[in-house]
Symmetry: C3
């Protein structure tokens, strides 16, 4: 891509030779000729061998080729998306096994893939080697399914999604009813999973099917590795959920929430749109979490958490003060 | 199934037309004709299009078709189990590779399965596509192994189990001995894993083999997704372990325990029968956990945890009280 | 192996018949004829049917065949490593699909394996059934890759490594840039993963590729199951990381650190060589962790953590003391 094409793509302005060819993006410190870097700082661009650097519109530089953009990092990400289109391949491998009743348009089906009866896969979608797709699964267009993913029956996945290796969609939710004899019987786990468009799901993450209804992940939400999403959970649009977080059954997370890593949600919690929950936090069952920044177990507003933490840290001094008061009072001449 | 057959199955009594045909179970709010719902509440059954509703024996309703049972949710679960028998298929796929010395009775072996030498698989068992079964593995009857499961050599699995996608049974335990040069050498991990009957194991959960002995999971225990069970752990019967919990080596959990999600157990802990441990709790190595409800890190009885939490929350007031006392004492006319 | 050969291997001294044949190692309590056990205690070796027992050089025993070594457990581990060489098999299965441009020396390639173009696999390496190896992957000699592992393009793995089932190496790191419209665009995740020699990685653990640079795991480091290692993380040599720990992007862990289970690291933290971090601890982003033993969230030196915990536990008494002081002061005759 030419520098001027990239500038157009990211809504930036070229300063220098717009006809320069860019092959890839790179870190500004290690970039070489043919590479595009970005600089988020507010002073002079550091020395770099990058052919072109994206900088803030407000900034100037002696670098011979610049793209000026409102948000350099965002512009860099968009450029990177176009310069580095991830692709697993083209065509359909002869060892792939596609049920007669499946409708598969995908641009790539890798080796040893199985697709069950009644499943529909959209155009431009790529299915990596060894992926297992059950019956009556729907996958939209231009979705990327990495090797080793397992999708159970009846799951729906939108367009433009990325599922990383080892993802499991639609396994049974964890619900059991205990009989008088102490034996657990599985509560029916016959619902489904709906993944809307542009969702990315990290490696080895699990999304369980609804018990009787559906588990849903909203458009544009990004989920990291090793996350657990329980049955009937509803996650809104444009949420970000970091690694190893676990969300229990029927919890609702509205749009535009940011959830740290290793957070635990009890069942039937309800996180309001825009809330931010810090790593390792614990949300009690049924808890309603208002917008704001939350921390700790059980979660509390970050400011409260910090104040409380400071109080705990000063406990030693408090104890000494009490001891001193006691001494004074005991020494008091009137006693 | 007819309503009367279901009633008989769950030990309930029909009120209405016992010859009605039921095809599936459903949520009472979304159920339609041909579907069976349940109602756990104590007043009138909410409006529903379900053909039949299971309610408490103590309750009455104007709904035209009822099954009255002691525990409606339990009865519903049993009905669901019979109406929705999960099945991956029938027969043996031609791409499955079964070692000459294996004895496989299974009713289904999916595509691209491998079964190692000396392994024995019981009748009625279903093995999903791409499952890897090592050498000398034993799997009982009517067990369901979902796609992508990996079972290492010498592991034993009972009858009536469900292993969800991505489960790994029998990987090496995490044990190393450090030499004088700082280099770690693997302590032998040559034991095995025994999964008793009617155990369910969630997606991407790992159960490591014993170092020299065995890791064992007792009959009827249910384990959620992404759980880690270390070498030589012993889990009793009818335990429930929620997602992302980790159990370190040689820990013992006796029968009928309930363990929340994201709980961490140090090695050689011992949880007595009937204990309940809340989510995100931390159990120190060697800790003996008596029956009761436990919470926090390190775990303490729930009541203590709550009281302590309340004390921490009131620290600000306590500090003010101390300040006030100090002021009073300093102002005291005698000083 | 003969007892004398084992003794030589572990640098120990034989007391008894050095020509005895040993077939396997075993627990001292369950060992039988032909088996080697070890005893770490300081008094008489307990009764055992083991043919030979490794004991401390400082100890004596009436057992007819002993190997005396400086560190009996370490000697036992070395003996076990030689007596129990894990092997998945020999040869190349006919269903394995190896790209024409790949250079594969491996001693075993299992069924349904795929190896992408430009990949190089060293001699003596074993690749289990269904492993997916991308393009331009390098794997050194004598590395053991268990079934179901997925290795993305361009990842480098050293010699003598063990990758357990379900490991995912090189999936995209979790980095997104938010646009003015709230939509997240993936920050380029086009770096790589380098696993040095003698690293062991547990089942279902994920190591993400660097965003623009590399994610690196140093020689001899051992990682347990279900661990998450984010993009651009640098882990030194001879570290031990227990199960379910999560390490956020760009964090550095220097050599010889020991990390417990379920620990969470914020991004850009820096753990100095030799630090020990207890289970479930939380390390804030950017935190520098000096050598020593650390605990809690946010982490603090173990001794501080314990003292603070004791203070919290005694809060009830402190409150009573304050109440008592208040009462005394109010009762004071001068007021």
């Amino acid at each position: 891509m030419k520098v001027r094409e990239i500038a157009e793509l990211v809504g930036g302005e070229v300063s220098g030779d717009g006809d320069l060819e860019i092959e890839s993006v790179a870190d500004i410190r290690t970039a070489t000729a043919g590479e595009l870097a970005f600089y988020q700082g507010s002073d002079e661009v550091p020395p770099t061998s990058a052919s072109c650097v994206i900088i803030s519109s407000k900034l100037d530089s002696t670098h011979p080729c610049l793209i000026k953009a409102g948000n350099p990092k965002h512009a860099f990400a968009i450029a990177g998306k176009h310069l580095h289109k991830a692709s697993l391949g083209k065509g359909r491998h002869e060892t792939a096994l596609i049920a007669a009743g499946a409708d598969v348009q995908a641009s790539f089906i890798g080796a040893h893939v199985t697709v069950g009866d009644g499943s529909i896969i959209g155009g431009g979608t790529e299915i990596g080697a060894g992926v297992r797709i059950g019956r009556n699964v729907v996958i939209g267009e231009s979705t990327l399914v990495h090797p080793g993913v397992v999708i159970y029956d009846n799951v729906k996945i939108g367009a433009g999604c990325i599922l990383h290796a080892g993802v499991v969609l639609g396994a049974d939710g964890f619900g059991f009813v205990r009989g008088a004899d102490g034996v657990y019987t599985k509560f029916p786990q016959i619902g489904t999973v709906v993944i809307e468009d542009d969702v990315e799901i990290g490696a080895n993450t699990c999304v369980d099917r609804g018990a009787l209804g559906e588990t849903r992940i909203g458009k544009g939400t990004k989920i990291d590795n090793l996350v657990q999403i329980g049955h009937n959970v509803q996650i809104g649009k444009r949420c970000v959920i970091a690694a190893q977080t676990g969300i229990s059954g029927s919890t609702v997370i509205e749009d535009d929430c940011v959830i740290g890593g290793q957070v635990g949600f009890g069942d039937h919690a309800h996180v309001k749109s825009g809330a931010i929950i810090g790593s390792q936090a614990g949300v009690l069952p049924g808890k309603i979490v208002r917008p704001g920044v939350w921390w700790g177990t059980p979660i509390q507003p970050l400011e409260e958490y910090k104040r409380q933490n400071a109080h705990v840290k000063s406990l030693e001094r408090l104890k000494e003060q009490v001891k001193e008061l006691k001494r004074k009072l005991d020494d008091s001449p009137d006693r």
